[in-house]
Amino acid sequence: MLSYILRRIVATLPVMAIVALFVFSLLYIAPGDPAVVIAGDQASPEDVERIRQGLGLDRPFLIQFGSWVWRILHGDLGTSIFTNLPVSAMIGQRLGPTLSLMTVTLLLTIVVAVPLGVVAAWKAGSFIDRAIMAFAVFGFSLPVFVVGYVLAYIFALELEWLPVQGYTPLTEGFWPWLQNLILPAIALGCVYIALVARITRATMLEVLQQDYIRTARAKGLGQGGILFIHALKNAAVPIVTVIGIGIALLIGGAVVTESVFAIPGLGRLTIDAILRRDYPVIQGIVLLFSFVYVLVNLMIDVTYTLVDPRIRY
């Protein structure tokens, strides 16, 4: 197992290299110029050119790419063109809020979506099933920002239960941390809950037709035991897969959610960097996200062995 994990981690390196080349090339050919943004609207073309030279953006592609790769190999993600701060420090500043948001959303999803899917499968064809599936369609259809605005209006402006925006680190207390994340996590989790609930229902329906479930019933096992111990465990592999894939959805959704709820996370950093053409920051974040995605896939594979002992690597 350990050697398998190590092999997989080593296998991420070529993936990361391809991502790096792709991202760098894409940014190089993309329109837009950070020097223009820095110089401001009143700057002369000469000023813009001087700034471009100062930033080294006038150098040929291969030289720029080569020096970037060299720095990456030395563990240096570079320096932001705009803030003059190390990209790694900027990512470090933003990692906590995004990780918090994704963790709470993930937990919320598992706690809500899996039981909903199980119940829908158990009561397949009933009103409860239809209601849960209607909720799932609803969750799929509503954009994150719409859910976010509605939640903020009801729970922050009208009821005044929760704040509209911001982020408080966990070091300042569990409740202050959580209260800033409840609304964003619900908004972000809607699509995710819908996806996982539907997959859980579909997988459970298949499992509930199996002979061993009939045997369990014949042995007189209770419904809860059948559903959550025998059936759910055997339906877990596809559910875990979808939860893992859904993390990619979370990364994309976090960009919007963090903007709507003014959470200073990686999603907002990404948008800001793209709009300003802050190339080192964009490159650093994309590399990080691609690494996380590869890592999540690895974790899913490892999780298979936890939920199904028959799987061995």
Binding site: M1, L2, G32, D33, V37, I38, A39, G40, Q42, A43, S44, D47, Q53, G54, S80, F82, T83, N84, L85, M90, G92, Q93, R94, L95, G96, P97, L99, S100, T103, Y149, A152, Y153, A156, L157, E160, P163, V164, Q165, G166, Y167, T168, P169, E172, P176, N180, S259, V260, A262, I263, P264, R268, L269, I271, D272, L275, R276, R277, D278, M299, T305
Partner: protein, 534 residues
């Protein structure tokens, strides 16, 4: 390794990440009456007011760095760090003396050598600074508090140049910082202004914090814009960046922030209904909407094509697209200079007044030789003002019978593509939309967009010798009457040649909680004199 070990490890790693070194400063909580929470117009992404000249950088810099002179609300330069100045009889030598007791945030005194280094860096980037630099014989420190600027010929607008609020302002920094190449960014933010920058709390794109500088010595005069006594009545100002306007509006209503610099017009009615919120015009100098036509390529290399567009355009259409139905927020602008300022002129503005004459415009366009070639119109969709103007222009050009190549893109791309001098079909362009702060359009000194010196002019590269002649006349003017006369002629010349198309003058609001007082109207948010009750 068994699955229990893996699960424990994952839980431990997650807990560590969430509680340990990955935490960021609190954004929303713990504000007190001594802390003012402010939502700026844009993200403070860098903090060098000479290197990066965006307005938001200038606004933050005005807290941290002081200037020798400051412009007041009557647009006159007033002494700020300077105690006195003398001009030689021939007008070529300026001698300045600093106020005693000025200190930087690191405790060091402000000396003449700091001023010399700061002015040298500023003069390398600022349009007026460049003009002074071109005339400069020497800029030297005479003693710790006295410095001298010797020119080859008189420069009557010297005090205005040192006082102006247009970016880049002549901010004074310690010599060691000011010696940084003006085209490279500083990393040390020590100033002598009324507030200190809390670099450790800076989360670029999210939050910037300023703390009261206890050793700041304000002037005795009443504060007026960048002039007078900058009395800080709060301990701390937190700039909280909110990219989403609806969130900022909700946060202001919920009391999570105290002051929102630039609420969008659509949300103002909601804010006005809230009994805890005050809403008023933020900057009486407002903004001038514009689109620029490329003088290098057909059809707009012919003045008749440019005048045809001007003849047909309705400024009301543009203003309603930007502002909506609030008529108090806009006015037509038959010229280029900010309304209600001393040099405002409508000379030559007839082409923009009265009923629009589409038939005459079509005829003039045909005379220009336009034969249906595509007109590449760059429109940034991520900026509400440019998007609104672009939509109106596209309709206008179609009414004129022009073949519109509407390039819907983002502001970053417009910013880059507008610099291309290649033909429109090869990465260039024919038109793009923007707007100018009214504070930049009060006279020709900071007004880059009005210059018409061809290759050296702003994007579109207009050529208009008469316009340039009158710019020079203004710089040489010795009194207000001469200045007014020069600006009248300049306005006419620029409209005759259509240096750019002004789409109208518009104002915008600012909004704050009613427990905040002392907010002054002006071209930037002034924090001196602002107080807050619990």
């Amino acid at each position: 390794m068994d699955r229990r070990t893996v699960l424990k490890g994952l839980a431990g790693a997650g807990g560590l990440a969430l509680s340990g070194g990955l935490s960021a400063p609190a954004i929303a909580q713990g504000a007190s009456a001594r802390t003012l929470r402010f939502v700026p117009q844009a993200n403070l992404a860098n903090f060098d007011p000479i290197w990066g000249t965006q307005y938001v950088v200038r606004n933050a810099a005005a807290l941290v760095w002081d200037t020798l002179y400051g412009i007041d609300s009557s647009l006159q330069p007033q002494r700020q760090m300077v105690e006195s100045e003398e001009t030689s009889d021939d007008g070529k030598t300026w001698t300045f003396k600093l106020r005693p007791g000025l200190k930087f945030h690191d405790g060091e005194p402000v000396l003449s050598k700091d001023v010399v280094a700061s002015l040298s860096r500023w003069a390398a980037r600022d349009p007026m600074g460049l003009m002074i630099k071109a005339l400069q014989q020497e800029l030297t420190a005479v003693d710790d508090r006295t410095f001298k600027w010797v020119l080859k010929q008189p420069f009557p607008k010297m005090l205005y140049a040192l006082a102006k609020n247009n970016s880049p302002c002549a901010f004074i920094m310690p010599e060691r910082i000011a010696q940084t190449d003006p085209f490279k960014q500083i990393g040390d933010y020590v100033g002598s202004g009324p507030m200190k920058f809390a670099k450790g709390e800076w989360v670029p794109g999210a939050k910037a914090v300023f703390e009261k500088f206890a050793d700041y010595v304000p002037r005795q005069e009443k504060a007026s814009w960048l002039a007078g006594g900058k009395q800080i009545l709060i301990d701390r100002v937190e700039w909280i960046v909110m990219p989403d306007a609806a969130t900022a509006a909700a946060a202001l209503q919920n009391g999570e922030v105290d002051w929102w610099e630039s609420p969008i017009a659509d949300l103002v009615p909601v804010l006005k209904k809230n009994k805890n919120i005050s809403v008023d015009i933020g900057d009486p100098l407002g903004n001038i909407g514009s689109f620029r036509m490329n003088f290098l390529y057909p059809p707009f290399n012919d003045v008749r094509a440019r005048r045809a567009v001007l003849m047909a355009m309705s400024q009301e259409d543009y203003m309603r697209a930007i502002i909506g139905d609030d008529n108090s927020l806009w006015k037509p602008l038959p010229g280029y200079f900010t309304p209600d300022t001393p040099l405002y002129s409508e000379m030559g503005g007839e082409i923009l007044k009265g009923k629009r004459n589409l038939d005459a415009a079509k005829k003039l366009l045909a005379e220009s030789g336009y034969s249906g070639q595509p007109v590449t119109c760059l429109v940034a969709q991520d900026q509400p003002i440019t998007k609104a103007q672009g939509d109106v222009t596209a309709d206008l050009l179609k009414q004129l019978g022009m073949n519109v190549d509407f390039v819907a893109t983002d502001w970053g791309t417009v910013g880059s593509r507008r610099a291309a001098k290649t033909p429109p079909g090869q990465g260039g362009w024919n038109m793009f939309h923007t707007w100018h702060a009214g504070a930049d359009c009060i006279n020709p000194a900071p007004y880059t967009a009005i210059r018409a010196n061809g290759d050296k002019a702003w994007f579109g590269w207009p050529t208009s010798p008469n316009t340039e002649k009158e710019v020079s006349s203004w710089f040489e003017a010795k009194n207000l009457d001469e200045e007014k006369a020069a600006i009248g002629r300049l306005n006419k010349a620029a409209l005759d040649d259509v240096v750019y198309a002004p789409t109208g003058f518009f104002l915008s609001y600012t909004a704050w909680r009613k427990n905040v007082s002392g907010i002054a109207k002006g071209p930037l948010p002034f924090f001196w004199g602002v107080s807050k009750t619990a």
